[in-house]
Symmetry: C2
Subunit: 132 residues, 2 copies
Amino acid sequence: MNDDWLDQITWDRDGLVPVITQEQGSGDVLMFAWMNREALALTADKRQAVYWSRSRQRLWHKGEESGHFQQVHDIRLDCDNDVVLLSVTQLGHEPGIACHTGRHSCFFQRYQDGAWHSVEPVLQDPAAIYRK
Amino acid sequence: MNDDWLDQITWDRDGLVPVITQEQGSGDVLMFAWMNREALALTADKRQAVYWSRSRQRLWHKGEESGHFQQVHDIRLDCDNDVVLLSVTQLGHEPGIACHTGRHSCFFQRYQDGAWHSVEPVLQDPAAIYRK
């Protein structure tokens, strides 16, 4: 297999690249995570998002516990070859739930008047999502 | 001044937080950069994006050389308190140019068939943008 496209990425000192995941259609930024070389290769191959969990130090096939898989439509790389942008459909719930808190997007805290305010609803109780 | 909102952020080992910058209206992800505590405080105060340049190790008021400032409408924080999302209007050119290559977005390389392909046009010659 040709791995030139993986070699072209500027991996950070931990061998990772930051990844922004955006919902196709709405354009909503759903989450931010990291990939190592294997995770990105798997993502391109499966057309489903596979990240590297820094907390668990292992590959993390998004949806493996929640059923909330991400179908990948487009993989982009930035001008410095060190950030990846995914365009996805967030599967498993309508509307899609990308956040472990049961919200659509991880970016639910909004800055206003010197404080962070939670401004997005919980769509499903995390206890129900991760009951398995 | 109340700095609790800055204390709530989980800064990384370099004292930085990753920042995703999205265009209001189009929803396009324009760029990815970093902020330190001072940069984020300035961004909230000025309502213009101020990043921390890791390569130059100094504050970087986006647009200071190009005139392509970013008006900030919304500042979001993710569920782990360690990633920021800005909603901006990209000023100085129509359509907006966020990338130092003269393109609208930094994410102009698209993965296809085992290679990265440049799929977005250069809107303005970088030599003209940075002639000052």
